[in-house]
């Protein structure tokens, strides 16, 4: 089936099987391998992308369901070689080790802070509890997201 989406600001049109998940479509048909697949059953959160501004698990969504949607992946969070403030905070706080869960953490945190720039630690932990990380124990992740809040104040997206 033909699907048209806007991905990271670019219009794409692609023919997919109905059974293809959005995650597999992004990774294997559009070459956006930054979105990772860690469980394929909607638990780990590694595949989180933003669909029309909201964080969603791309393994729990068919590519055909994303027709006409605006999708933002980790590749769309920073435009050039520079890190976004959120990404820089991740680096500073050592909020990633193996880096596999990181794209999902970034997209989730970006979606959260874009809507709730005042999110406190409890809220950040609650939201990130939908993303599994096996390396960090989460402490540094939470610190990084809390620090990155500054860049989201005033409604502009970092």
């Amino acid at each position: 089936m033909q699907v048209s989406m806007e991905i990271n600001g670019k219009a794409v049109s692609i023919d997919v099987e109905p059974r293809m998940t959005l995650a597999d479509c992004l990774r294997h048909h559009l070459g956006l391998t930054g979105t990772h697949v860690g469980c394929e059953h909607g638990v780990c959160g590694a595949c989180t992308v933003m669909v029309d501004g909201a964080a969603m698990r791309s393994c729990l969504m068919l590519a055909v369901q994303a027709d006409k949607a605006k999708v933002v992946t980790v590749e769309g969070l920073s435009c050039d070689e520079a890190l976004s403030p959120l990404q820089a905070a991740f680096r500073k706080h050592h909020a990633l080790q193996c880096g596999f869960c990181t794209p999902g953490m970034l997209t989730t945190a970006h979606a959260l802070l874009s809507k709730e720039p005042q999110a406190d630690e409890t809220r950040v932990r609650e939201v990130l509890s939908g993303n599994l990380c096996r390396c960090t124990g989460y402490t540094a992740l939470v610190e990084a997201v809390l620090e990155a809040r500054d860049a989201y104040q005033g409604g502009q997206e970092a």
């Binding site: 959160g45 729990l60 055909v64 369901q65």
Partner: protein
Amino acid sequence: MKLPSFEYACPATLAEAVRILADHEGEAKVISGGQSLMPVLAFRLAAPSVLVDLRNVPGLDRITITENGVHLGARVRWCDIESHDGLRKAHPLLVQGISHVAHYQIRNRGTVGGSLAHADPAAEMPGLAVACDAEISVQGVAGSRLIKAADFFDGALSTVLEFDEIITGIRFPAWPSGRRWAFEEFARRRGDFAMAGVALHFDLDAAGRACNAHVGVIGVCSHPCRLTAVEEVINGNVVEEDLVAAAAKAASEAVAADVTGDMHASAEYRQALIGVLVERALAHAQV
């Protein structure tokens, strides 16, 4: 864990949607948010020939508050309930119960209708529906009908829906002012399905005694149910320490015959847990 092969239909009307379901005689499945169905497909526990996506069907995503209660369209998402201005007043128990559903990303996509249709024994929405005497509206080829929540769930992951029927919405009866309520659940981690949960509400008569008690439980039996024995203990009495203890005891006894154990917890534990949750819910019941 790639999904099995299926066709995909995205009808523009409800009539068209039910017709596709009817044409496939039970081989078709409805997909809305897909947050329960997609894992089922990923594990290949179901192999529908066609998925009927409701996303283009208009009118199913509304939250309506009237003197008749709260009506949620089938495609209302958890995040819609969470962010709705009027709901917290119109049905605080509903909002509180829904706050326990899954995680952020799933809350952005999972729907009321999907949860009702999936009928997980530990899910909050079916439990709230049963506890609150909600009515589920469904549409089939032959027309629409209303089904009482108490009659809707007939087993684990099982409902009385016919294969051509689609849930269109659910109505929670109006919430009188002064109603006492509480929602308590116990899960191993935030967002997990509950090991057990309790949704309850009751009103106070002029003398300050409880009446019209509704006590619904999830996670203990094959489907959510009300504990009438506990309600009887509560009705006509002032809710104080001794009554709370009696209700808790009654709750453990009431589920004794039906409670099941699994790899995560024994039946004995769940039975005790229900008593504890009823006790805490009654003790914390608020206006």
